[in-house]
């Protein structure tokens, strides 16, 4: 197996798996589940092989594989990973088998289609993280909407159609404007490079040399698309709907990976390609991020539905990530990257646990629960750990990311005000309030609902899923440098790209 083709194997394994799935008989549901799980585990193992050979001291792209695709437009199939995408690639390939495992019982109609769409979704997500050509990136970015649209629409809750159409239209609108920006950038840069190109590595060299006005427009078009995906306040309205209506697996994927595409896009494209514009807009976007942190937390506090509560907590947590990115210091961006992974693990775990209890009781209303600590002790303990990890308790993963982000934004020269860190820090307190309050109402007290008496605790399959997440939750909390050092050099490179002194303007 050649090293530089490993990424291609990772990308195409789920695709080939999805195609092979088509020959299965619809009735053999168990075989289909096992096959899907096997394919996603193979993908994860391949990703681990990449991780094993990954050189964390190298700030550039590794495992680069480039084949000409559409020669007249210089579009190539160009993939590669650096520290930023390495972690997200691992997260994606790690979460996918867990979601398949988590929906083993809860998805019992159209199993074949479900597994098919999950594998296609994985292809799209991996593609987004490893593409080094804007065209290729856009293809995956958009194509990924289709499986997600079906996952919410086919297996979702009551208002699933409203939720899935809203999700689709919101993201589609943002990304279409990004499409024009990509074309505009490629045409303008083509004037300098000599040929039309969407190759990211080539564009890195000319993007920062664009005139301020040009950069601003480009930056806004790209950021709008990413901000919808993150979602940044006030573009978040699709998220609670999509989360609440999606099946558990959809929610986990949505929270753990899809939202990260937005923040990843900011780091991969907006900052390095349009550094001047990024610095200009950093304070404004940070203000939106902080509004998101506080607003998300306050709204989460008053939710009656557990899933909606976790959904709004995502808005709040992603605000931290955006703040970290736009504070533009080494600490804050490192914090943002690790926080992306953390949010994937913690919120993924929370959605999973909400799904576990929902499968048994078919209600997510917090008021229906109460006093289940004695009935389902393992579940209660798991929910406690997941909540504490999401709150940011020292020793668990969330603390590391939030601490680094706050530290970085406190001394950020770009934001140039400690106010950002102070307001953002209040989000940590609010997180403790809404999560612990929910925990108290669900787990403690007296049993009000007789249905709860018959609850069964987590079974071994669910334990496997949770323990897998738990390992990394604790690992990052106790010894984060395993992961921090992966992205360290790439983060430094992004900061270097942002801080390159203004060059001579060569584009407009």
């Amino acid at each position: 197996m050649e090293t530089n083709q490993l990424l291609t194997y990772v990308l195409f394994t789920p695709l080939i798996g999805a195609m092979l799935l088509l020959v299965f008989q619809r009735e053999n549901e168990q075989e289909i589940r096992v096959f899907g799980l096997a394919i996603s585990i193979i993908t994860f193992i391949l990703a681990l092989m990449i991780f094993a050979k990954f050189e964390s001291l190298n700030p550039g792209f590794q495992f680069v594989h480039k084949i000409s695709w559409i020669s007249s437009l210089n579009i190539s199939y160009h993939v590669g990973v650096d520290g930023l995408s390495m972690l997200l690639l691992l997260l994606t390939t790690f979460i996918t088998p867990l979601t398949l495992l988590s929906s083993w019982k809860s998805i019992n109609k159209k199993v074949k289609e479900f597994t098919f769409f999950m594998l296609l979704l994985e292809v799209g997500m991996i593609g987004v993280f490893i593409s080094l050509d804007l065209f290729l990136f856009y293809v995956f970015w958009e194509a990924m909407l289709i499986p997600m649209y079906f996952i919410i629409g086919l297996w979702g809750g009551e208002r699933r159609i409203y939720a899935t159409v809203k999700f689709f239209l919101f993201t589609m609108f943002g990304s279409l404007l990004m499409l024009v920006a990509i074309i505009w950038l490629a045409v303008s840069a083509g004037g300098v490079i000599g040929h039309f190109t969407t190759d990211l590595v080539e564009l890195y060299s000319v993007g920062p040399a664009a005139a301020r006005n040009f950069q601003n427009w480009m930056f806004l078009a790209f950021t709008l698309s990413f901000a919808i995906k993150i979602p940044l306040f006030p573009l978040h309205t699709w998220l609670p709907d999509a989360h609440v209506e999606a099946p558990t697996a959809g929610s986990i994927i949505l929270a753990a990976i899809l939202l990260k595409m937005g923040t990843y896009g900011l780091l991969r494209f907006c900052l390095p390609l349009f550094p001047d514009a990024a610095i200009t807009f950093a304070p404004y976007i940070s203000v939106l991020a902080i509004i998101g942190i506080i607003y998300g937390a306050l709204v989460a506090m008053v939710q009656k539905d557990m899933k909606k509560l976790v959904a709004y907590s995502s808005v709040s947590h992603l605000g931290f990530v955006v703040l970290g990115i736009f504070a533009m210091t080494q600490e804050s961006i490192q914090g943002a990257v690790i926080q992306m992974v953390n949010h994937g693990l913690s919120t993924g775990a929370l959605f999973f646990l909400v799904g576990v209890i929902y499968e048994r009781t078919h209600t997510r209303e917090i008021s229906e629960y109460g006093g289940i600590a004695k009935i389902v002790p393992i579940f209660s303990a798991s929910l406690l750990i997941a909540s504490l990890s999401s709150i940011g308790l020292p020793g668990l993963n969330g603390f590391i990311g939030e601490f680094l982000i706050l530290l970085g934004s406190f001394k950020s020269p770009v934001l140039n005000s400690w106010g950002f860190a102070v307001f953002a820090a209040s989000g940590v307190i609010f997180a403790a309030v809404y999560l612990l309050w929910m925990y108290q109402r669900v787990i403690f007290g007296v049993v009000k609902n007789p249905k709860m008496e018959k609850l069964t605790d987590m079974n071994s399959r669910e334990m496997v899923v949770f323990v897998s997440l738990l390992i990394f939750i604790v690992w990052i909390g106790v010894y984060p440098s395993t992961f921090l050092k992966v992205s360290d050099k790439s983060t430094a490179r992004v900061i270097l790209q942002v801080n390159t002194p203004p060059q001579q303007v060569i584009i407009k």
């Binding site: 159609i161 899935t164 279409l176 024009v180």
Partner: protein, 474 residues
Amino acid sequence: MLNDIQEFYSILPFIILGAGILISVLIEMYSSDSERILPWFSIIIFGIMGFYSLFTVGSVSVIMQNMLQTGGIPNIFHFIFNIGAAITCLLSVDYIKKYGVYFGEYYILIQISVLGMMCMAGAKDLFMIFLGLEIMSVSFYALAGLNRKRLNANEASLKYFLLGAFATGFTVYGIALIYGAAHSTSIDNITAQFPLLSGNLLFLAGVLLFFIGFSFKIAAFPFHMWVPDVYQGSATTIAGLFSTGGKAAAFSAIIASLSALFGGSLHTFLPYLAVISVLSMLFGSIVAIAQDNIKRMLAYSSIAHAGYLIIGLASGNHVGIAGVVFYLIAYTFMNLGAFGIVSLIEGNDETNLNINSYAGLYGKSPMLALLFAVFMFALAGIPPFAGFFGKYYIFISAVKSNLTWLAIIGVISSAISVYFYIRIVVLMFFKDSQSEFIVQHSNMGILAVFISFILVILFGIAPGSIINLISSFL
């Protein structure tokens, strides 16, 4: 002598098709089994022609006293017309039994219309364009009203005929004015004189009239009034042919005459093109949302697509023209696929055409629902299907010509159109069936749709070679 043989080979496609038409007439007259023979005969003729035109695409020659060009871009259009017509015939085998009436003329008229389209694509003379246009249009009028017992088919035919004749009038008047200014109808001649003519008011008026005439044929706003009624009134398979072959033929004639009419520079006509492009895109996309009849919805979507195609023309650069040709290829197959599925779902006597008939289709026929979803996503321009790359290419041409605003309106209109395309997907997959009907089985129809599906995927994933082919002739 060598030249004659050369010319014979170049003209062979026209001879094959002409002979095919005559043989078809004979079959219809003398064979008692013509109902079974004719469709297959037509499909074989179209298939041979489609591949022949692709194999001979490299040998460009001008024949018939500088009237007609074969090879190059015209051959790419010949491929679109013939394969499109072959798919239409394949769909028709079972469909026209359902539609109620069988006429042998059905296939003969399709063959004649394709002959007209081929004349338009290869025209080197404005009269050749006119000749092709009339051959195509007259067979289309007849095809629209083939089912003469049905009121809306009569309405469609009459409406198509009256407005079409009106449009042709514009075109002919335009050609007359151009002749008056240039003293020639040869495209090469006019191109050579273009620097002198470009300021001539008579010439400009002629070009404008010519283009208005074609705006009818490509179904651009505000010359679109006939489109929804004609698509709704005529047989579904025929509506598919109107919206793909007819539109592609009209664009092929515009591209063939582009150098003469615009001399490579569209400055004078840019406002006209930009305005009808914007209006077509927005009008088509917005009005399609309000449609309940699937054929009318596809008709408005076809108007919107005419708008995207005009962006490519308005850009006036080679990328734009290549984009238009590629877009037409992509559009032909995705739209034929969509109309094909509509024709398969359609019951006897034009039932099941309301979009609510599509509710729960996935439960009844998973494969048709999946294929239709792919065509809807492709029409909406979502990667990795062919429609996306077509749009991408056309938007590049707009940005290159400093028409970024046109590209932005293009994507806004795409975003609007996503709504009505995915509404169908919502109905098929997420809603339960409201009406009990059984999808009538048709192997040939499914085969035709499947061919379109393969091509939509293929041109979406690997557009490079076809783009290179088109660009090499520009």
